[in-house]
Symmetry: C2
DNA sequence: GGCACTAAAGCAACTATTTAGCGTTTAGGA
DNA sequence: TCCTAAACGCTAAATAGTTGCTTTAGTGCC
């Protein structure tokens, strides 16, 4: 699972090799464990450092800040693991993927990760979220084209379904339901004509 | 609207009277000033306390946390000041209000306030954001009904325009443009038939 | 393989922030 | 005016965050 550093053009860049990678992995895992087992406020830099067998200064130097580390871990967790399931139709693929996405984001850990990602000023992490999402929807799109179907534009899916879903998740008291999602999807498909 | 605290059921209620209110106002103002004049990381609890002429422990006791105080101040700033401008038509009212909203939220301080509000776990603050927004759109809606126009459902405006606007603001690299907003508005009105 | 180079981690002393305990002030009500 | 308790001020102790310097160990070159 872990090949080490490619032998390429690196005059004086970062050093992703063995130890750094191990330390980063240990820290990420420590964060995940602490988040899973205790209340949020117990996830502190010294606690993470101890759990990971590392000194706090390492964390501060690499991430600068607890919130950035949390954002980093969160965006990592949010990365999709593979291609969306193939159900045989565009509509089916999209509906299933959306439902899974809704489910993941509505969960307590999902919401926490979202908050962590959003609370950091740097756009890098939020950009990755959008990228992951776009990529998945694009895959479904491509598959539909290959089948000879007429899929929606990815941007339309983002604006018409993902955006309201996230908006409700972030701002409304209650998380969006599966019915909400299919309603948005139906509207979009109907509008397409 | 009327008399103060009902007699009996206040065994252990809050105390909104004179001093508390003064202290809170001083602290809020100190936060706004510090946010306006310096970089974000210089806005610390001790700094706020000094500026407000208060001891840090007061802040920790009342808000528990810098992020909660920031969220509190932010949501206060985000509160609309009055009714939306009356341009004579539903479409005009809505377009103008949306543009102003977009402008405010896209600005650096607007984005900062949004982040502050979203990064706190308690749903109370985010709920207020949604409420403010809904209330404004509802006013425009009511005015349109009084004129005999046929306005969009408020929920449709939220899901079809506000939501994608916020989604782009939060997740995309570049903030949504005025053209994006009018496109979303046009789509919605056209769909209404 | 051995060597030089340097990014990254460790260590430790230091500063800043947060929390806790306890006395004092003052809003709210008789 | 007087009483009660919420809310604040103060201080000290605990915890978190920062920094300079030292040591470790990837990486490229011979």
């Amino acid at each position: 699972m872990n090949d080490i550093a490619p032998p390429s053009p690196r005059a004086t860049g970062p050093r992703p090799g063995g130890r750094s990678a191990r330390v980063q992995a240990a820290i990420h895992q420590a964060v995940r464990e602490l988040l899973a087992e205790g209340p949020r406020e117990s996830v502190t830099v010294p606690a993470i450092a101890t759990r990971a067998g590392v000194t706090p200064s390492t964390i501060y130097r690499r991430w600068g800040d607890l919130s950035q580390l949390l954002a980093d871990v969160a965006v990592e967790q949010l990365r999709p693991e593979g291609a969306p399931v193939d159900t045989g139709t565009y509509r089916g693929d999209l509906a299933l993927w959306l439902e899974q996405y809704r489910d993941e984001m509505s969960s307590a850990p999902g919401r926490t990760m979202l908050r962590d990602v959003l609370s950091v000023a740097r756009a890098e992490n939020t950009g990755k979220c959008l990228l992951y999402c776009t990529t998945q929807i694009d895959m479904i799109h491509e598959r539909a084209l290959a089948r000879g179907e007429r899929p929606l534009a990815t941007a339309a899916v983002i604006d018409g379904i993902v955006a309201p879903m996230m908006y409700h998740l972030l701002f409304a008291a209650k998380t969006p339901s599966a019915a909400d999602v299919s309603r948005w999807l139906d509207d979009l498909i109907e509008r397409q004509g």
